[in-house]
């Protein structure tokens, strides 16, 4: 059986302000994930890190430990790798007052 591999685009056309997260990714079948985060326009303000989170149920979330900067420039790309995540994954960022960004986020699972 050939190994399953898939790409999901989990964030697009959303302006992030305040407490923001991608929709949950359910991927219990996968053993590895890599997220790519692309700036779709110039980000503004004091930008926090974007963090990987895991969950027991897709509803309650805790930080996994991996984190990357939010890309500030349009078309700049950051990536983040996660393994041993169980069934659920998402990315989360808490943007302070005045910070904003627009991101294209994809996750590649296998």
């Amino acid at each position: 059986m050939l190994r399953e591999s898939v790409t999901y685009v989990i964030n697009r056309q959303e302006t992030w302000k305040g407490q923001c997260a991608t929709e949950p990714v359910e991927a219990g079948w996968a053993t590895e994930a890599i997220f790519f985060v692309r700036g779709m326009e110039e980000a503004g303000g004091d930008l926090p890190q974007i963090r990987a989170q895991v969950s027991p149920d897709g509803m309650r979330w805790v930080d996994e430990g991996a984190a990357i900067p939010i890309p500030q420039k349009r078309d700049a790309i950051e990536f983040l790798r996660v393994r041993h995540f169980g069934n659920w994954l998402r990315l989360k960022a808490d943007l302070p007052e005045g910070a904003t960004c627009s991101l294209l986020v994809s996750v590649h699972l296998k």
Partner: protein, 297 residues
Amino acid sequence: MFSTDAADIREGLVQADPRLSRFDPLPRILCLDDFDRGHCGWSQLMGNYEGSLDTILPGYRNITNPMLSTLSHWDSGSHGAMDGTYALKIATRPKKDAVSVAIKRLTFRKAGPVRLEFYATFKPEATDLALSDRDLKSIGLVLDLQVGDRHGAGGERVMPHLRYLNSAEGKLHQKWQFKRRRPQVREIGNNGETVSHFHLADEGWEDLEDGAQKLCYNEIATKVNWHYFRFDFDIESMRALRFQCNDRAFDMAGFDSIRLPAMKNLWCMLNICLFAETAADKRAFLYVDSVCLSGML
């Protein structure tokens, strides 16, 4: 006495195969999607755009990727699929009236009858310790079809829509509906090459004749039961032939589809869409165990 009739042998083979005996396929099986084998070509429905993603019509922006799910529940663990481990999960965003759609894009080689069969179940996200049976608005299916390029004058793009309206505005409806009212087709971008229409908006739905049906929701938000669905459509006459859910087959005499003039780049299109719609600020899920699309030779 053993039969040597080809039809009897075929029926015997279908019934002896556990992957197929739950279906009643027409002679040509076009696809048999078991999500234990992966996503099987089901993907996110993307709105049309030109120049910028900002040209995508708003209704398409809520649509998410279908994912492989074990129907994992916080209180009882993985429910699993009807057969095997994984089902295809179509999830809305947690925003009232959001719709999410999974699509499989094909073309046809013969304009004749096709039969779409699938096993599926549906549930709102179990964020509350409550029955929550009014939190999922609807589940449904769409075919998106267009005649071949030699059809000649009067060729159409035809989009049969069916949904099970479970609930709206806090009230259970539990009935099947169809849509024939054509949505507004809008120009996208400035090159005159791209158009788009959001055909899944919560408007223009009409009740199917005698279409009330109570399904097996079960007793808490984390118990699910698989249901059988079948839709027969003739691509030659562009008419619905039959719709069935579990033990009920519905009269399709009053059914019609959204009909548009044929578009310049969609010849012989045969797309299948399955969708879920939420009635609350809570995710709604349509889980699909398996799909069989079949047709005549």
